[in-house]
């Protein structure tokens, strides 16, 4: 269990944020560049000086400015996967993984490092230099290196952003698998809502150094509380299996999309692409289904309308449309989405 409450000056603004992460939970710290996400992560690891901080991990106080406690980075049971991996270029891949074990004077550092390297499927690269690895492979080595020290908390700083688009999908899938096998708390920093949704159980949204919203992924997605959060994460994210132009969703429904490809996918539908009708719509939309209005949230001139039913979805319409269609809770409506508006990403 991680509890972190941190305050420090950050350029023109102050970072003042607190969050908790339970064992086995993946928490994503999501926000735009410059929001203070990475600084928060570095403060948890003890890599930056803070004005005020209270960091407790599994009941052990790592930092408390009130009592003057400050455990140095090297003695915090925290593994970090850095944005650019930061594998030591002068050491072999195996020595990179064994580095933390050597720091602990473990006599079996080499053997244990090798076991970790094989767990991420890179035993054959033990003697290679990190420069010989692809971006995805380097990411796996970085993860093995961080996990080899048996940390109680794993921090991941934009773990996929340095990878190209095709590698990212593959590494993200693998990361999910390895993260699932780790039983400590995990804190992921990212600016990519898709990455956050794919890897995290809970989102903490950081904006201008402050936490503006937090909660389970689907809750934050469904009911973003600020304009910013709505833009950042307020998309409809659906998991399914693509087969050509059709995505079979986990709930049993089907979505028609353009070039969906094949295999496990995320189908992303922006709320503004969801049209609401009182009667079955005529014309070209390929995806049409009935539903019931669950909630209507006005955000200035726009409204987010949550619609339940066989395929729950969130629509964003103008405030005048809400009046014209008389949208209120429990209203029966038809929903339509054009095939071209269904974004499909490999999961």
């Amino acid at each position: 269990m991680l509890k972190a409450d941190i305050q420090l000056p950050l350029g023109a603004l102050d970072l003042d944020a607190a969050l908790e992460a339970a064992p086995g939970e993946v928490v994503a710290l999501l926000g735009p560049n410059g929001a203070g996400k990475t600084t928060f992560l570095r403060a948890v690891a003890g890599l930056v000086r803070v004005d005020r901080a209270n960091v407790v991990l599994d009941g052990v106080v790592l930092e408390d400015t009130a009592t003057g406690v400050r455990v140095p980075t090297e003695r915090r049971p925290i593994g970090i996967v850095f944005q650019q991996q930061l594998l030591f270029p002068h050491l072999s891949v195996l020595e990179n993984v064994a580095f933390g074990l050597r720091a602990r004077h473990r006599p079996d550092a080499r053997a244990a490092g090798m076991a970790w390297l094989e767990r991420v499927g890179l035993g054959a690269y033990a003697d290679a230099r990190p420069a010989a690895l692809s971006g995805g492979e380097a990411q796996r080595v970085a993860l093995a290196r961080a996990l080899a020290i048996d940390p109680r908390l794993l921090l991941l700083d934009e773990p996929l952003s340095a990878l190209d688009a095709t590698t990212r999908v593959e590494v993200r899938r693998e990361l999910r698998r390895h993260l699932a096998s780790f039983n400590g708390a995990r804190l992921l920093v990212t600016h990519d809502p898709l990455e956050a949704a794919a890897l995290a159980d809970r989102l903490v949204i950081l904006e201008g150094g402050r936490v503006v919203q937090s909660g389970p992924v689907d809750e934050v997605t469904r009911r973003p509380r600020t304009r910013f959060v709505a833009d950042l994460v307020g998309v409809n994210l659906l998991r399914g299996r693509a087969d050509g132009g059709v995505v079979a969703l986990e709930g049993g429904q089907q979505l028609t999309a353009l070039d969906a490809g094949h295999g496990d996918v995320f189908a992303v539908i922006h709320p503004r692409s969801v049209a609401i009708h009182r009667t079955h719509p005529e014309g070209t939309p390929r995806n049409v289904w009935p539903g019931t209005v669950r909630s209507v949230d006005l955000l200035g001139e726009r409204a987010r309308v949550a619609i339940g039913g066989s395929l729950p979805i969130v629509a964003e319409v103008s405030a005048s449309a809400v009046r014209d269609l008389d949208l209120r809770e429990r209203a029966e409506v038809w929903v339509s989405v054009k095939a071209a508006e269904v974004g499909v990403y490999p999961a």
Binding site: E74, I78, F82, F88, H90, F99, A103
Partner: protein, 261 residues
């Protein structure tokens, strides 16, 4: 590769400049005493001076590494009042006339120097006119080359590697030994070679502070100077040998000082 047109006055002056360097080198080759060279270079006094030069220059380089790397670390990373002044003063020997350095060393570590008289009365240690003095003189003029090179290396290294090492549980010493030092190794190597070359060529501070005692302070440059009056052919032969050595140093550091394109 096509050449850009160079204005004629520039070309002429450039040719004079190049000649200024090339003619003396040519002179050494033309006047090289081919027949007597082996005898002149293997005479006992020259061999003694060469051995002494090797010992003092390597000792000075070792001393510069042991003291200079920590100094470079302080310059690259510490922040305190007066740091810039101290840094400027320790860089001074690079531009100071070496003989001034010798005089300064003498008033500090000489028998009646501010530190020297204490060393003498308390421990019976007298530095001037010993091999230790020759090493100290060479270190004085040569260490700044190492310090500045290593400092530049430390400043340009990616410090996030050190953070990664700390996050893996490495203490300060392990971070330095297994991450920082290997990452600045190219700078340390270049700095050490530069430092050694400067120490090997040291003349002014050595003759002032350490004197010209055959076998204990008479290094190769001093022997060359002395031989010029009595046996010029030996001086010429030695000069060419030292020149070739310098060439080797330049080639060894080609990545740093010679453009490769």
């Amino acid at each position: 590769m096509t050449s850009e047109p160079i204005p004629r006055p520039f070309a002429v002056l450039a040719a004079f400049a190049a000649a200024l360097f090339l003619l003396p080198l040519l002179g050494l080759l033309v006047r090289f005493p081919w027949t007597e060279a082996v005898g002149a270079l293997t005479s006992p006094e020259i061999l003694t001076a060469a051995g002494l030069s090797l010992v003092t220059s390597i000792s000075a380089t070792a001393l510069s590494i042991v003291l200079g790397v920590p100094l470079a670390m302080v310059y690259a990373r510490a922040r305190f009042r007066g740091l810039r002044v101290v840094r400027a003063l320790t860089t001074l020997p690079m531009v100071l006339p070496p003989v001034v350095g010798g005089v300064a060393l003498l008033v500090a570590f000489g028998r009646r120097g501010i530190v020297g008289q204490f060393l003498d009365s308390a421990f019976g240690i007298r530095i001037p006119f010993t091999t230790a003095a020759a090493v100290l003189a060479a270190t004085f003029v040569a260490m700044p080359f190492l310090v500045l090179t290593v400092e530049a290396g430390l400043r340009s290294m990616d410090r996030r590697y050190e953070e990664a090492a700390r996050s893996l549980g490495a203490g300060r010493w392990m971070v330095f030994r297994r991450v920082t030092l290997p990452l600045v190794a190219p700078s340390l190597y270049a700095g050490a070679v530069l430092c050694w070359a400067r120490a090997l060529g040291e003349f002014g501070a050595t003759i002032t502070f350490a004197g010209n005692v055959p076998g204990s302070t008479q290094t190769l440059p001093l022997a060359v100077y002395l031989a010029l009056e009595t046996r010029p052919e030996a001086a010429i032969a030695l000069s060419l040998v030292l020149l070739l050595l310098s060439l080797v140093v330049l080639v060894a550091l080609r990545d740093r000082y010679l453009p490769t394109s």
